[in-house]
């Protein structure tokens, strides 16, 4: 059984990054889908956000991993996945979400 996702063209991935960041309150670029995360860090990020928001827009970067990494770096300065954006601003990966949650600041950061 294979979970390899359908590949999409790099241009489509680049457009997805721009549109998802600009048109959603909370966006999460992750490995895998909301139903089936493919990486523990993506799963952790999804769970942390899900405590406070049920309207996160998720994008599976595995459909064009390199194109997503490059385009996301233009917004965040980094190529690691997951990446969380709130109101178009880069918030962080799973470690930063966890630390914000430990500090009691995640709900406010997510405008929950």
């Amino acid at each position: 059984m294979s979970f390899e996702p359908r590949e999409i063209p790099p241009e489509e991935a680049q457009e997805n990054v721009v549109e998802t960041i600009e048109n959603n309150d909370v966006a999460l670029f992750m490995k895998g889908t909301e139903m089936m995360p493919q990486c523990g860090y993506s799963r952790k990020a999804l769970g942390l956000i899900g405590q406070y928001r049920d309207d996160v827009a998720t994008v599976n970067v595995l459909t064009a991993t390199e194109a997503y990494r490059e385009k996301l770096a233009e917004y965040s300065g980094r190529e690691t996945i997951p990446q969380t954006f709130v109101d178009g601003e880069f918030v962080g990966g799973s470690d930063i979400l966890e630390q914000l949650d430990d500090d009691g600041e995640l709900a406010a950061t997510l405008n929950a």
Binding site: Y41, G77, R78, E79, T80, G92, G93, D95, I96, L100
Partner: protein, 77 residues
């Protein structure tokens, strides 16, 4: 890249940094690291900017030789 190399790279790139690198999963799993970095360079910086300093130090290694780091940053007591 092993833990020692990751720590050395971070310490060479960030002023007065002390890096502690461990493998949180399997000891032989050399692509997932837990990284704790202490440096005065983090003072007054946001969490994102602190993490960015470490990401910049690792450069291309991150996402290429290294799958992921679990990162904790702090300033000296």
């Amino acid at each position: 890249m092993d833990e020692t190399e990751v720590a050395a790279l971070i310490e060479s790139e960030i002023p007065d940094a002390t890096a502690t690198v461990t493998t949180p999963r399997d000891p032989d799993d050399d692509s997932h690291y837990a990284v704790e970095v202490v440096s005065p360079a983090f003072a007054g910086k946001s969490l994102v900017d602190q993490h960015q300093l470490v990401h910049d130090a690792l450069g291309e290694h991150l996402t290429r030789d290294i799958h992921a780091i679990e990162l904790t940053t702090s300033t000296p007591e």
